[in-house]
């Protein structure tokens, strides 16, 4: 199981790096989806099959499709590739990379002193997850629900449009007066 964890962790890391460095938005997007799959495998190996399934259903299956939907609507083609090329000059990414490497070295140093206990994987099934969701964390669930309702109402309000007739025979007097 450890081997699977390391393989999927490496895949996730590589894919995430590819997401940042790709110039074409849809290709970057596809790497992001693969990265989510790898994270789902990590969840599965760590004994959380329910969360692993939800990761694929919600993130890769729903949210990412909506992202792609927006990308398709905006029709980002050659112009965005050109813009990305300007963004990815060495002068821009050198300093953040150095800072990240410093953080990484610190992280490795910190983990070296901590002994990681190789505890056996405890599988947490769907019933346990829902018990804690609707038991101890019920307030958080309800607040999230409210947030979603607010989002839906807002989207409806923005999306609602007064019906306009463009044909001159169908136009009512109101629109002529405007």
């Amino acid at each position: 199981m450890d081997v699977i964890f390391y393989i999927s962790a490496i895949v996730a890391l590589l894919c995430t790096i590819m997401v940042v460095t790709r110039k074409h938005i849809v290709h970057a997007f596809l790497y992001l989806v693969v990265s989510l799959f790898a994270i789902s495998v990590i969840f599965f190996v760590s004994g959380a099959p329910f969360v692993a399934a939800l990761e694929v259903i919600v993130y890769a299956g729903a949210i990412m499709i909506l992202f792609l939907f927006a990308i398709m609507m905006l029709n980002l083609g050659k112009d965005s590739v050109k813009k990305e090329k300007v963004l990815l000059t060495p002068g821009i990414w050198t300093l953040p990379t150095i800072l990240c490497v410093v953080l990484l070295i610190e992280l490795v140093y910190a983990f070296r002193s901590v002994r990681l206990a190789g505890s056996p994987v405890k599988i947490i099934d769907a019933a346990q997850v829902s018990n804690s969701l609707f038991g101890g964390y019920v307030l958080a669930v309800e607040l999230t629900g409210m947030l979603l309702i607010a989002g839906i109402v807002g989207a409806y309000h923005i999306g609602k449009e007064k019906k306009r007739e463009y044909h001159r025979y169908l136009q009512t007097n109101d629109s002529e007066n405007e």
């Binding site: 849809v26 596809l30 329910f50 399934a53 939800l54 694929v56 259903i57 299956g61 398709m72």
Partner: protein, 318 residues
């Protein structure tokens, strides 16, 4: 060792069985459509035209697999593989008979949801990468349709899961020993079937590829075996939804003991496949806004109500 061999046999059997069944369905569908529309159907190749599929296969394999110069090549090639991959993976959780299942996952049904939600990528990516406005329109329609109908599909099955208390497919079949879930979960069954047709984007819900307005939509630019993959993927999708309806609502392999369990499963599955063909033969295609408002304004409240009532009954019975 013997168990490993049996597992490998099951995997190979499911893979070959489903793919060849999907190919055979092309003939079955054309013949049954002909019967219901009072025509003759394919009758040139072999007796009753049963070698029509073979002829079609030879044709499609030897056709030039042309990639238009204006497409995004990598994504264009990737798109048709996704539908085959996700649908074939979904077959892994179907229990065909006691013990005959590729992966008896304890999150079985969730695995199917995950795979079906990934299936939407095939339409979106194919539509986008084709670099053609009709394909793009088909892709946009397909994405919206599949995301919307996934919601009701998930909710309609919650009743079954509440009654069983498990996502495992074998448990779901065993819970139907006394009465099939189609009786207590009739609303769930109807919603799941409608959502299933929309997920496989079959007629009457084939708006992403409506040939009369979008010249076959997201796969306009595809030819040869890449088109064949979309085509076979659609038939695999019908088979998958029929299998799922059988397992979730009609007791899977359960049946009177004069026939073996596997035969019962196949009989039930074929009934639903033929029902899907009958739907195609009879129903007209709705308008896009009708499809959306029908889903969100009728099916979603119904599915939620179904979950609420089932939950209340199960809770009060405890």
């Amino acid at each position: 060792m013997n168990e490993t061999l049996f597992q490998i046999l099951v995997i190979v059997g499911v893979l070959l069985g489903t793919v060849s069944l999907a190919a055979a369905l092309i003939y079955v569908e054309r013949k049954m459509l002909a019967v219901w529309q009072q025509r003759l159907g394919p009758n040139r190749v072999g007796p009753f035209g049963i070698f029509q599929v073979l002829a079609d296969m030879i044709k499609i394999f030897f056709k030039e697999d042309w990639i238009p110069p204006f497409v995004d090549k990598k994504v264009f090639i990737l798109a048709p593989t996704i539908i085959m991959l996700t649908v074939l993976m979904s077959f892994a959780i179907i229990p065909f008979a006691p013990g005959v299942v590729v992966a008896d996952l304890n999150i079985g049904l969730l695995f199917f949801f995950a795979m079906s939600s990934l299936g939407a990528y095939t339409i979106v990516l194919a539509g986008w990468s084709s670099n053609n406005k009709y394909s793009l329109l088909g892709g946009v329609r397909g994405a919206a349709q599949m995301i919307s109908y996934e919601v009701f599909m998930g909710l309609s099955l919650m009743g079954v899961i509440i009654q069983t208390g498990s996502f495992n497919m074998t448990d779901i079949v065993n819970a139907q020993k006394d009465v099939w879930f189609v009786v207590p979960q009739f609303i769930g069954f109807v919603i799941f079937m409608i959502a299933g047709i929309a997920e496989t984007h079959r007629l009457p819900f084939d708006l992403p590829e409506a040939e009369s307005e979008l010249i076959s939509g997201f796969h306009s630019e595809y030819s040869g075996m890449k088109f064949g993959m979309f085509f076979v993927g659609e038939y695999l999708g019908i088979t998958l939804v029929s299998c799922l309806i059988t397992v979730l609502f009609f007791g899977g392999w359960l049946g009177p003991s004069f026939l073996p369990p596997f035969i019962w499963f196949i009989i039930k599955m074929f009934c639903f496949i033929l029902f899907f063909v009958l739907l195609r033969a009879t129903l007209p295609r709705p308008r896009y806004d009708q499809l959306m408002s029908y889903g969100w304004k009728l099916l979603l409240p119904l599915a939620l109500l179904n979950v609420l009532i089932t939950g209340a009954i199960v809770l009060s019975a405890q």
